[in-house]
């Protein structure tokens, strides 16, 4: 269970404690937070990895995965956002899907028909829905995998996938990077319906529309040059 954390001290301890009731091994990567996030994590039984400076969510995820892979017992690797927008039971259900052996990767989707049905009064805001559906429909690799939701922070990877995944996009473009990695390899990917808890807190911390421009730029220059 990998949780990238950046300035979430008001919620992180609650989120981690809830996770620990179900998942024994939780790794929190504190991505150079300026607040008390690290101290809050230290009060729990979660593993704490601290970036000495802020690098971005993609970098934090990769660090967390590298750390988790260093634990020989780990078979399944879950990415989970720190702001409390995901439900622990969704994560559990996704681990079961991967454990069942039908797929190597389970990706959370808030747009599958089943997810739409369970989504309660706090449903996906209209402008977010439009943006996220557009990304999923326009990205060639997301289309190839028949994804409905390309930017969901809840994912379950088996060990084989986690070993081969190397996130180089430090910022928010890592979500698209992961999708293109999955479609380029011969990984079996399955989407699982999940609900997102859109609280005022997670809305304030979430992706803004304008950051989409940055993500597109990062991705378009990634493919250039032989450095990558």
């Amino acid at each position: 269970m990998v949780v990238p954390v950046f300035n979430e001290d008001s919620v992180i301890a609650t989120v981690v404690k809830e996770l620990l009731t179900v998942f024994p091994n939780v790794v929190c990567v504190d991505d150079g937070s300026a607040d008390r996030s690290a101290a809050e994590i230290a009060t729990t039984r979660a593993h704490l990895v601290r970036h000495p400076m802020n690098l971005g969510q993609g970098a934090a995820l990769q660090t967390g995965l590298s750390y988790a892979l260093g634990r020989p017992g780990g078979q399944f690797f879950v990415t989970f956002d720190a702001d409390g927008q995901h439900r622990v039971e969704d994560a559990l259900a996704m681990v079961d899907v991967v454990r069942g052996g039908e797929c190597d990767v389970a990706l959370g989707s808030r747009f599958l028909a089943e997810a739409e049905a369970t989504q309660t009064q706090t449903s996906v805001p209209a402008h977010k829905r439009l943006l996220l559906r557009a990304i999923a429909a326009l990205s060639p690799s997301a289309r190839k995998l028949e994804l409905t939701d390309a930017h969901n922070g809840l994912r379950v990877l088996n060990r084989d996938v986690a070993v081969h995944l190397h996130i180089t996009m430090n910022g928010m473009a890592h979500a698209s990077e992961i999708v293109s990695f999955l479609s380029a390899g011969s990984w079996r990917v399955q989407e699982v319906p999940v609900a997102i808890k859109y609280t005022d807190y997670s809305m304030a911390k979430g992706q803004s529309l304008i950051n989409g421009v940055n993500i597109l730029f990062d991705l378009s220059v990634k493919q250039r040059g032989k450095l990558s």
Binding site: T21, R71, R224
Partner: protein, 128 residues
């Protein structure tokens, strides 16, 4: 006009150079050669400005000063791309460094905090 062809080719070429070419010894060397060539040209054009005017007229540019301005614009594109690539490379190195450091400290601190069993990733339920 020749100058239009030259400018467009120059701008596109510098973009392609960064998109395609390997940034090995050859690229490094050609950057240095280009720099020395630039310095030599500068000295020459200061000493004999009329020659620059002559070249400019051949290329369809009114004045030598305008020609130099156009060349500067191309050089600017080159410089921006060069700096961008350099920053990106440094970014990657820094990420690797920060990650290595973070992992090393975490291995040590978490072993102390959580015990050896947790470090092996065994599925023992949390006790608090």
């Amino acid at each position: 006009m020749w100058i239009q062809v030259l400018l467009i080719v120059g701008a596109v070429a510098s973009l392609l150079a960064f998109a395609r070419f390997e940034h090995g010894v050859r690229m490094q060397a050609s950057k240095k050669l280009a720099f020395f060539g630039f310095v030599a040209l500068t000295v020459y054009s200061v000493l004999r400005p009329n020659d620059v005017n002559w070249v400019a007229n051949r290329l369809g540019v009114g004045r030598g000063a305008d020609l130099i301005l156009y060349i500067m614009a191309i050089a600017m594109i080159f410089l921006v791309l060069n700096t961008f690539m350099r920053f990106r490379a440094i970014d990657r190195q820094m990420t690797d460094l920060v990650r290595a450091l973070a992992l090393r400290e975490a291995e040590r601190d978490n072993a102390e905090r959580l015990g050896a069993a947790a470090m092996r990733g065994e599925s023992t339920p949390a006790s608090d």
